[in-house]
Amino acid sequence: MTNSKQIAKPGDELPVQPAKRTNPLANVFDELIAFAQSRSLFMLHYCTGCGAVELPPAMTSRFDMERLGIQPMVTPRQADILLVTGYVSVKTLKRVILTYEQMASPKYVIGICSCTVNGGMYWQSYATAKKLNDYLPVDMYIAGCMPRPEAVIAGLRALIENIKNREANAWQDYYRRYDHYLGNQQRLFGETWQTPTDIIAEAEHYGQIGAETRGPHTALLEQHQQPLEAQPITLSIGELQRIK
């Protein structure tokens, strides 16, 4: 189990830890919120590979993740954790990124299995992405091929501990260094890669604009960006009658 929050190149701006507020009551309130967040985690498991097999025993009565306050969730909009279980093919990676960007902050990414760390046994495969933290900010890696449910739960407990101490800030890294992540995505998917989410506007909303939020890659994105249009929804009377 490795913690990727410390993977930073020399010269990188380290994420700023929230300073303790002077008002003791506000302090208590912040800690209460952090505790509540750490004990009510909804998990979206993106079951890409064989590691998903270890999740049913981890979630159900044998190891019972729910006693830690972790439950599976059906949609990314309502989830806190994105669990990527196993190898991520290039095609899947696009969907994983779309899913991640739909989630509301604060959000956490966990990479399970050796494949998300370094490609695992697919290190030579043209179709499998190697380093998940090149494309998404990974909070926690749980290595193993595959990790046992004990290891999965140990990893989740470590994440809970980090959230409680307000150290699980990888989601802020995605906004602060969006240019870096977008550059890696463009390297793999081509220059015209675009997601429906406006990350820079979101970064402004969360107050997370950093020095590397904008850069050459976001400039390239703006060049190619197609304006998003709402999908027309129509239902004609004829169809209604046919349904009856």
Partner: protein, 209 residues
């Protein structure tokens, strides 16, 4: 059982009558036939229409770059004889065009589309030759032997660093990763300083353990 044996003997005798094919009986239930590319559809039609081989299990493709050939293997199964016939044929690697057997076996469309995507063999008369699984792939056909997957990976992906800072904590706790220097992989060329330093600490970690 004896009836099945009689039938397979009958099939062997029938096939030896044909010219231009080579049969090798691998076992009582497996038969290998090598046939010219021009005669393969006729052979399959015979096997399906007259010898109860109604099930096309798979079409497999083998790339032989030294002989500049693709080998296509048609595996057909008979439910009555309980036996498998593998019809092997070779086509030139360039232009890599062959005739579809979709009119004889309908499932061939699926296998031919797959082979077209993975090897670049075009099947004339196949109903759909569009992309199948690799819909977002615009490189060369990846199953060809001259496609260097490792070079492609090195050009498009990075691997993790071997000696990141966070590993030092784990090594201090008695853990660590031991990877032999000849097995270490670097995407954008080896980094001599980082590599040397990494080996030292990693060896130390394992010795302590």
């Amino acid at each position: 059982m004896s009836e099945g044996k009689a039938l397979s003997t009958w099939l062997d005798n029938l096939l030896t009558e044909l010219e231009g094919i080579e049969i090798r009986r691998k076992s009582s239930r497996r038969l290998r036939i090598d046939v010219e590319a021009s005669a393969l559809p006729a052979l399959l039609e015979l096997l399906r229409g007259r010898a109860s081989y109604v099930h096309l299990s798979a079409i497999s493709c083998v790339d032989w770059p030294d002989e500049a050939q693709f080998e296509l293997v048609y595996h057909v199964w008979s439910y009555e004889l309980q036996s498998l016939v593998s019809a092997h044929t070779r086509i030139p690697r360039k232009p890599g065009v062959y005739i579809s057997v979709y009119d004889i076996y309908t499932p061939a469309a699926f296998f031919e589309r797959d082979i077209h995507e993975m090897f670049g063999v075009f099947f004339e008369g196949s109903p759909d030759m569009s992309k199948f699984i690799l819909t977002e792939w615009d490189g060369p056909p990846p199953m060809r032997k001259d496609f260097d997957s490792e070079a492609w990976v090195n050009a498009h992906f990075d691997f993790q660093d071997y000696n990141p800072d966070w590993l030092q904590e784990i090594i201090a706790q008695g853990g660590g990763i031991a990877i032999r220097p000849d097995e270490q992989r670097f995407s954008r060329g080896p980094e001599p300083t980082a590599k040397g330093a990494g080996n030292k600490t990693v060896d130390k970690g394992t010795d302590e353990r």
